[in-house]
Symmetry: C2
């Protein structure tokens, strides 16, 4: 029985953090909302969210269905899938550390989103441009360096070596860090121009994930939705700026 | 050996979600930054965050230390503590559901915070008042009803009864929902005036948590820091408004 992933079609969004884990592991899964078959498409997601009899109701996608089990929220899904896909450390303390890192990534992704939607997710970008400019300015000057400097230190200090963020093998945290770096390079090409210099270990980790055979194949496939102006990582040139000169 | 909680003193903040669980369970813990003893105070937190040899570096407080184990991020700490404090369901599917709910609460808390800091956490409220007014307006009109309507449905649909959000006994999710409702009542007294009518089961759950003997004693003690203008839930009258007339 394949895993079923429910996420809005047409954008990478938060669903992409789950897709990367499923793809890296070569897991059998159905991207339900992108399918045209019976019980597929966006209607399947809205039916699930509105299902009146559902006791363990999810708030929002991404949602993973594994047989009878429904799991929602990226970090929760990855915590569940990690051991099954061999993408999590076995040691309990390291699993908790990996979960904590994934939650820092969750917070960071929300802050990236808010650079273009600081006033409300219910308003268009065009209706909050000036606030977005101010938010993005502070994000690029303070928040991005704070988060990325932290991830750089985490990778640098991994006692098992800087090939991975946690433990001695690849985990969902590595895959998510790849996605974060990739998204920032797309959204803010100017501000990220010196990433390799500021964050050498994080950049190397990004490059290694990109070269993993299953990930490389996925990125070349039409299953990988291109970055676009509907996602979390959006390229609005007016929000981009010259790079910060120092990490924090 | 007592649990050690590291969190900024002087505000409830995100640390409060952990304190409520420790207090409800009557756990032996030290609120490190509020202590005046040796190895206590804020210096202990900054020393921990800057510790150069620390491999599993936390990003930010709250941080829980349990012997050799360091855990950071509210949802991660509660996932860890839940079973130890008898504040989590035993069933795995329900534990995952509880974790997912805690992550929705995490997102909601961030949105509450952003009503007064929509442009940047690094700027003063006074420097983002107009954006805050717009953010709070959209929050009260759309986001708050969306989240609270969801929590109301979750409590209503609990197959074990609406006394709890998940399972048949109190969990950290109940305690966190209490804190969210309590915080909103403080921050937005006008907009929440009809909460009891719109969200009867959530309100009843809030009242039951408040009446739990250990919680009632805690709320009366000086260990409970009052809400104040440094926390997540802040009362700025200019951000409050007449209640929405319908839930979503």
């Amino acid at each position: 029985m394949p895993y079923e992933l429910f996420y809005w079609p047409g954008l990478q969004g938060r669903g992409e953090f789950v897709r990367l884990a499923l793809e890296d592991a070569g897991a059998d899964y159905v991207d339900v909302c992108r399918g045209g078959g019976r019980g597929q498409g966006v209607a399947a997601l809205t039916a699930l969210l509105r299902s009146p009899g559902l006791a363990q109701l999810p708030f929002a996608p991404p949602i993973l269905r594994d047989g009878e089990t429904l799991i929602s929220h990226v970090a929760n899904i990855l915590f569940y899938l990690g051991p099954k896909l061999m993408l999590a450390p076995e040691n309990e303390a390291l699993r908790l550390f990996a979960n904590g890192l994934q939650l820092v990534i969750t917070d960071f992704v929300k802050e990236v989103h808010d650079t273009h939607h600081p006033l409300s997710a219910d308003l268009y970008f065009e209706d909050q441009r000036e606030a977005a400019r101010q938010n993005a300015e502070a994000f690029l000057a303070y928040r991005m360096p704070k988060f990325l400097g932290y991830f750089e230190r985490v990778v640098s200090r991994n006692p098992f070596g800087a090939d991975h963020a946690v433990g001695e093998t690849a985990s969902f945290v590595d895959l998510s860090l790849f996605q974060v770096v990739e998204g920032l390079l797309y959204a803010f090409p100017r501000a990220t121009a010196n990433f390799g210099e500021l964050y050498p270990r994080l950049t190397a980790l990004h490059d290694r994930v990109q070269a993993r055979p299953m990930i490389a194949a996925y990125l070349q496939s039409d299953r990988r939705i291109p970055f676009n102006p509907s996602g979390i990582f959006r390229h609005y040139p007016e929000l981009d700026r010259e790079p910060a000169t120092a990490k924090r």
